[in-house]
Amino acid sequence: MRSVRIGVDTGGTFTDVVAVDERTGEIVTTKTPSTPANPADGFMAGIAKLGPLDVSSIVHGTTVATNRLLEDRIGDLGLITTEGFEFILEIARQSVPDGYGNSYFWVKPPRIVPVHLVKTVGGRLDHLGGEVRPFNEEQAAEVARWFRSKGVTAIGVCFLHSYANPEHERSMREVLWREHPEAVISLSSDVLREYREYERAVTTLVDAAVKPAMRGYIANLSTRLGMPFSVMKSNGGVLSAREVVNQPITTVLSGPAAGALGAALIASTAGHPSVITLDGGGTSTDVAVVVDGEPSITTEGSIGRYPCKIPMIDIVTVGAGGGSIAWISPEGTLKVGPKSAGADPGPLCYGRGGAQVTVTDAHVLLGRIPPHLLGGEIPLDVDAARAGIEALAGKLGLSPERTATGILEISAFNQSNAIRQLTVKRGLDVRDFPLVTFGGSGPLLACRLIDILGLPAVVVPPDPGNVSAFGLLTVDVKNDYVRTYVTRDLDLAAAGEIFRELEREAAEALDREGFDDPVYARSADLRYYGQAYEVRVPAPAGELDEAWRAEVTGRFHDAHEKLYGYAYRDDPRHGIEWVNLRVSGIGPITRPVVRRRPPVADPPPPGVRRVHFEEAADTPIHQRAALGPGAVVRGPAVIEEYGSTIPVHPGFTATVDDYGNVEVRRD
């Protein structure tokens, strides 16, 4: 039997499974409908579809945690915080989103914990961790018993300055264990040892909110699977299922992270170490930036309306996908998204009761996608799409074709603006980056994005629908540790001690995962004194000396200049402030080999269909399987495969590289 590693990516609609032969690198993929009621069913069905195999390891990407948050399906959750701060969640950061004047009509969404389930306990620390007032055991016990009496079992604990000293939070946990043994507890000093109390509290509560569900799900899956497995994390690493139940927050948004990593590996094998990745789905598109093979990481992410300040791959999600709805605003302009028809009822052309024109309908009207899905399994109703677009066109006073191309152009602009904001935020010039597109709707707008953003190329990997599941197999074991240490005058001995402590914690965790040769990556967050945001830079390993300090501050000046266009390298008036010290513990795995493709013998000739680019014309339709390495397709043309389509506009050329990737460039 072949020895394989398996990646299982549970998405909203489909569960994708990818198996890689450890010896040959051969890849087998399959797909099965997801089973939201119990995602473990779809997981097991997908594995079963592969047939009997010698499975050496399994990596799982799951949205169990994310969906609970996005759908507000979180059970009763309690917060315990410092005396005097019971309104911490109601007050939040006092900010009203969006426009000026909105404070008159804005309705604050419900808090993650309603105020009557927030309790406070006496005891106070200062910002260096010193005790101002001792922890009040008696009050703590009362609070614990109160939560027990109310049947609230998921509890987050966030005391002021616990990032500097976790003792009070740990005492609270002892009390809860004693008085309320059923409680599932998350301490802020475990989840995020970083300052800013509101954000740390919410991050901690998100962890507590998803813990019971994740524990149940992982336990169930472990039993049915009968072997250990790993779970994908949002930071671009994996962790054993056994460990991940202790910090489930690290798995939220892990699905898009796997896609970005898979695309990064495919692109760098093909000679593009730095790319933008674009995962186009039915309702939304996820965009990430990869520099030198590493996706960029943020700690300013959020899940739905909850800020989550744990490190995660920096992914911008824009409500522009195949199911995005085209509509006319009350002001009379054409808008696309963010509302989506989803997969059900879906676009008009699915013929399942959809009533609104979608991006997919525009593609099908123009003939840019075939009149069927998934290689012919699902026929599409072109007439329904046409009728809907004609109605829209009538209201706009445009032809149906112009309306359809307009819908696609607006959709491409929506994606472009998201890509632009992501790169601006990082100080990058989008024109330096090829775009890797995948997912069902990712490649459809490739040529328009090249055009609008001035991209050098778009790369479409083979099997673009399976890139996320493949990505699961490319991931190292990775844990992140942080300690806030705010100072303008870094004491090298103290900082060295913090790094050693963080590395000790990392080593313990990696040891439990069975890695005896771990890698530690240090980084530090710095800012110019007075700024509110930090810039993270990598920090060298080894002893901390003046050269080390100079190296890190030098990197900070460089990074600031790159991000924002200026720096104060030799200007002593602008002091540097150190804020956070970080360590990532990494257990490296062997990455799957991306194989070269053999030439295609006797490819069948392309077919022909009426396709509208600038005008309707008979256009060659290529099957992707028939295009071997070195094949060249000049636009206008369409390249089709199971689950995805690449329209090649006039003035563009697609070539196939040695690994089977299609590269589209402007002539």
């Binding site: 109601e90 900010s95 426009g99 000026y100 004047g101 008159y104 106070r124 109390e197 200026y566």
Partner: protein, 605 residues
Amino acid sequence: MTDPILVEIVEGTLASVEKEVETAIARTARSPMIRDAHDFRAGIHDRRLRKLTGRSYSALVQPVVRDFPIETMRPGDVYFHNDVYLSEGGIGHLPDLCVTVPVFHDGEVVAFVQAFGHHDDIGGAVPGSMPSHARSVYEEGLMVPPIKLWDQGAPNEAALRIMTRNSRMPDSLAGDLDAECSACLMGARRLAELFDRYGRQAVEECFDAIIGKTTETFRRELLSKIPEGTYVWEDYAEHDGVDEPRLHAQRITLTVDHAAPAPLTIDFTGTSPQAKGPINHAGDYADGVFLKKWLAPVLRNLADTPERMAELDVNEGVVPLIEMVFPEKGTLLTPVFPAPTNARTFVILRLLGVLAGVLAKATGGRMPADQETIRYTGVYGADADGVPYLMREVLGGGSGGRWYADGEDTIHIVPDSRNIPVEFAEARWPFRVERLGLACDSGGPGMFRGGLGYDKHIRMLRDASYMSIADRSILSCWGVNGGLAGRPFRVEINGREMDGLVDDHPVQAGEVIRIRTTGGGGWGSPYDRDPRAVAADVRDGKVSIAGALGDYGVVLDGDRIDEQATAELRARLRPPADSSGRFFDRGPGYPKLAGGRTFAEVDDL
């Protein structure tokens, strides 16, 4: 007809560029007012000086073009100004430093990217450049009329040296200016790409269409909801920092004529004389174009749902709908140079409320009750190393009740304005925050209750000075349609009550400064509020048991509602249906300044 598809693309790109510029400024600026309070804005204007973007208020390009004709501008030029009286009304006080960058296409100026932000200090009589007792603008800091700060890419070092030399916080001033200039230049490059891609004519046609559809949408969806007629209302600032507290009126006479080219006429006649202190706003320039765009967002409350209100942008398209009539020179809104203006915030924020109030009269109460969400409170002194510091924050307050919802607690009118995290504050400044909560009972009682203000307790760890610039410390945020007023701003230092305007009050180490900010006004009669909502407010600590009984007529027995006793009490408390003058409630502070009168003449429907 312009292409509706291109219009959408151009509008989306403008919004994206505006956001990119604001993101860049937020991430690099130094002043807490910009960084945390988000008191800064970017705006994009076309060659005809019309504002194209809709999320934000903004300054004006008019003063720059007045002093530097468009044809003299060159790529790489960056213009700067903060001079209130030479800003055509676009700049309200000197700490708002404004940067303007022209956008070029084929060698000609086609648009402007502009940003202004509230900086720490631009000199003048007190740290922070907001002296509440100022008698003239000369005490408020350095005035810079429009100048060229960068000349074709070369910074004007002399100007920068003069400006930083005049600031108590020169480094943060320099950092803020760098942040604004780099961000605007980046935005200008992005806009130039738009012109390159679609051509000047097509893009300018889209600008016309974007502005035009705002005009039409406001006319069709919002103005149509106001019955024709003439409506008068006024509200007051309570002190100017110089004279004893009194009523400084701001009056609007609103005339609605749907057939007129400008259906709304806003006449400020009846507004009080110019104040000796700094609460004046120089509004009567450029036909009031700044105030038109400043006030128009209030009109959005006339839309059918809060979701729709949020969709409506305010760009230059609102300007043709409004005619403004200013009284002669020498009033709060038509001050004569060099009248001081640094606390003009209270006057122009109040104007939003006056317009909301006059519209409430016109529409039978279909407007939110009052809110007051800006005041400055702070402490300053020297830290443990003897280094001087200034901690000043903008604490929000409760918003007013609406016909569809309670007001919200502790919010701020400036979009994305943030409070300062306690853990950040304690690491930087010598005090401890003992409590950050909501002020119980501060929300105005109503069928929809006003939102609550803050209750913040700061314990000083070293001797320091306390400062505040706050209005609504005597008068309240008004309730409407039977709703009652919220509680005013109140500060105590070890039990000693402070005024709203304080430059320098000594605080000893160990003493506690207790700050309670304003609650929003209530909407509708509190006796019509669902008793269960009142019980929940009591459970949550937002309303006291005494408040439930006295303000709402709800009798609680523990957490159980005594329904019969509640019905009886409410019947007794409810005013008779024909009582007049209760459409607005101005709270118990009003009679103190109004010679004992409990309501104003204009409060009658």
